[in-house]
């Protein structure tokens, strides 16, 4: 009997390790079968925690066109406040960044240009004149950066801007492409992180090699960027003269540890099992190390989607994504233990019947993990769900 009880404890260990979850909440106040919320954004920055306030941004079509929304919740409150609309014209892929004392910066694509706004309060500012999409934000101290994909000739290229914040007013103080040369093929989906030493890292999807390859570039001062390098350590090419190589997409970055940067992305190097989640760490050398497969053996033959990495200043890291290994899509996470990613664990409120997808997450200053995801139901509509987890 005692042996059996011990065995049960051991078997249950992965499911209860690491995180203690609070009750889930619904974020969006308007739902319906023909309303489609989306959490997709460059670097998947859809949730942020500033002081005592949790903020979530998303896009949905409740008003007859795609618009971007923000909902806030005091940490102790039992519900989110009614959302506010951020945009006036067609809006996509909003991101949110925490400032201090309950203040945030949101950025989004609206009518083909990138906009940003300080919240609560501030007015929306258009950051770009050229056609620009897929904006993301990162901050360290008072150094606030944005990156986006901007049309340059026939293709889009990655641009990084330093933003100035005076009271609640935002402006662009300097803006520059990662590379001076015009792009030779598409670039997009930038991820941005500022390390503890203030250096800036940008990763993005790049097609110059005639297949999709995540590239990365660093800058010590946010002005001069290094020549792009592959984020992946797997270099594929054509096979018997066919194609150009396997695909890897949607890189995400997070500041990690005292000086480091963590990255995850979707990688099709094993092209028969859909995209897998791969990760790499830069401990502060401004070189990413060997690639690590994040999902465990139970997710091997399953396509993974919507991956994100969240890093902590104390060296913790959590990768999140969704896959359907249990029959329907669920949100999964894997903790980084300093040497490897632990066994995959389903987020309790984001698992089970139905489709739970598209996780976005962040740490707060206390090390709690805040996760937001889509809970899809074709009949009643999609709920945006939120849960907070405290480290055990």
């Amino acid at each position: 009997m005692r042996t059996a009880a011990l065995l049960l404890v051991v078997l249950a260990w992965p499911a209860q390790a690491a995180w203690e979850w609070g009750a889930p909440l619904t974020v969006n106040s308007v739902q319906g079968a023909a309303i489609f919320p989306h959490l997709e954004s460059a670097n998947r920055r859809g949730v942020a925690v500033s002081g005592d306030s949790v903020g979530v941004v998303w896009e949905d079509n409740r008003d007859g066109s795609p618009q971007c929304y923000l909902a806030l919740k005091p940490a102790a409150a039992a519900a989110f406040q009614p959302e506010i609309r951020l945009s006036q014209a067609d809006c996509y892929e909003p991101v949110l960044l925490a400032l201090d004392k309950g203040r945030f910066v949101a950025a989004w694509e609206e009518a083909g240009k990138v906009h940003a706004r300080v919240l609560p309060g501030g007015a929306a500012t258009q950051l770009t004149e050229a056609e620009s999409v897929q904006v993301t934000l990162a901050l360290r101290g008072d150094a606030l950066y944005a990156a986006w994909a901007e049309t340059a000739g026939r293709f889009k290229r990655i641009v990084v801007a330093r933003l100035e914040l005076v009271n609640d007013a935002l402006s662009v103080s300097q803006v520059q492409p990662i590379e001076a040369a015009m792009p030779s093929d598409e670039q997009g989906w930038p991820a941005l992180a500022v390390a503890g030493d203030g250096s800036v890292t940008v990763a993005w999807e790049d097609r110059r090699h005639k297949h999709t390859v995540p590239l990365v570039s660093h800058s010590r001062d946010g002005q001069a960027f290094s020549a792009p390098a592959r984020l992946t350590d797997h270099k594929s090419g054509s096979v018997d003269g066919l194609g150009a190589g396997t695909g890897a997409m949607r890189p995400t970055l997070s500041a990690w540890g005292a000086q480091g940067i963590a990255a995850v992305w979707l990688d099709k190097r094993d092209f028969l099992s859909g995209y897998d989640v791969y990760a790499a760490f830069d401990p502060g050398t401004r070189r990413f190390g060997r690639n690590l497969r994040v999902q465990d053996s139970f997710g091997d033959n399953m396509a993974q989607w919507h991956a994100q990495i969240v890093g902590g200043a104390d060296g913790r890291g959590v990768a999140l994504w969704d896959d359907a290994r249990d029959g329907t899509p669920d949100v999964w996470l894997a903790d980084w233990d300093g040497e490897a990613f632990r066994d995959n664990v389903a987020v309790p409120a984001a698992a089970g019947p139905g489709a739970q997808t598209d996780p976005v997450a962040t740490f707060d200053a206390g090390g709690n993990l805040h996760v937001v995801w889509l809970d899809r139901d074709e009949k009643t509509g999609t709920r945006i769900r939120y849960a907070r987890a405290a480290p055990r």
Binding site: A34, F36, H38, E40, N61, P66, Y92, V133, Q134, R154, F155, D185, E186, G188, W189, E205, R207, H209, K210, H211, T212, S238, V239, D240, L242, G243, A244, G245, T246, G247, M249, R250, K268, F271, L272, S273, G274, A303, W305, H306, A324, T357
Partner: protein
């Protein structure tokens, strides 16, 4: 004449860059334009879900879609739609939901490319076929779809009944 040639060349070049890797010479269009054309024409949709640089897509293009008779069969009888598995380009599903082309792969639970999806003129999925296929395979799928056999039989039942 020279200006027209340059315009046509530029258009072909642009189309190639936007659509990534569809087979050469086929009148592939984007998802939204294809759905609109299918509704107007009543033709079924043949959706090619490919990936930029995909070797098996390239192989299928060279070995199968190079067949002139197959090209005529599919160009005449289908609205041909190409979707890039890793693109952020947006499309609107028949439900009205606007997603990226990459997100369509999530909804199709795509494991590998190429993936071929046959749809009704209204955009309802009839079936999806992954991987390299031969000219004869596509002729069989055409008979199954345009013959309306999918309403009564599974593809396996239909193909089994063939022999």
């Amino acid at each position: 004449m020279r200006v027209m040639t340059m315009v046509l060349a530029a258009a072909l070049f642009w189309t190639g860059s936007v659509l990534a890797d569809p087979p050469a010479g086929y009148p592939f269009v984007g998802f939204d334009a294809g759905l609109k054309a299918a509704r107007a024409s009543g033709k079924p949709i043949f959706l090619y879900f490919g990936r930029y640089g995909c070797a098996w897509c390239d192989h299928t293009n060279k070995k199968t879609f190079s067949d002139a008779a197959l090209k005529a069969l599919y160009s005449d009888n289908y609205v041909l739609v190409y979707v890039d598995a890793e693109s952020g380009k947006r499309l609107t599903l028949p439900s009205g939901e606007r997603i990226t082309e990459a997100e369509l792969g999530v909804r199709l639970q795509a494991f590998a490319t190429p993936l071929f999806v046959y749809m009704t003129p209204q955009g309802d999925k009839i079936m999806q076929i992954p991987g390299f296929k031969t000219v004869q395979d596509f002729r069989d799928y055409d008979r199954y779809v345009r013959g309306g056999h999918y309403k009564q039989k599974t593809l396996l039942e239909f193909l089994g009944g063939k022999s």
